[in-house]
Symmetry: C2
Subunit: 91 residues, 2 copies
């Protein structure tokens, strides 16, 4: 039951199309915010907002490099959520 709540939270966060696109991008390489919003053709503040949501669940990590903030997938966290998913939603 606790797991269902946590899983629901995860699924809601990644169900957003733009967040999925961000995750997809970061799967291939780490990127700074400006590279992401240019690639996806989205306003900067919107991408920032979505990255914040992804970070809330530790789905992405960030690292500073000058004024740039470079985001990358948190693979461990993502793996745990996917494991929870497979554990609860069995086929």
């Amino acid at each position: 039951m606790k797991g269902i709540l946590k899983l629901g939270e995860f699924l809601k966060i990644i169900s957003d199309t733009n967040r999925l696109r961000i995750l997809c991008l970061l799967t291939k390489q780490e990127l700074c915010v400006c590279e992401i919003f240019e690639a996806l053709e989205l306003p900067q503040n919107l991408v920032s907002h979505h990255l914040g949501k992804l970070k809330d669940l530790s789905l992405v990590k960030e690292r500073k490099e000058g004024t740039f903030i470079i985001y990358s997938i948190n693979k461990n966290s993502l793996r745990q959520y996917k494991s929870l998913f497979n554990q609860i939603v069995k086929d």
Copy 2:
């Protein structure tokens, strides 16, 4: 890109806690609507509504038995969505 839209649709549908609980129940056994809403302590019309959403994506199947309508997981469909998920969200 088409896949991301479809995946987002799927994730949004199953991100709802009550729908997750329904799926979870149906994983173990097929059930009629009244068994579901009694088990989950939810109003009948709400469960009906959620089952409708799940059916929209073919995540559940239904079968009539008198006045009862018995729902079960559509394993094939669920497997396909999970496959799409793993294909797009790599860890």
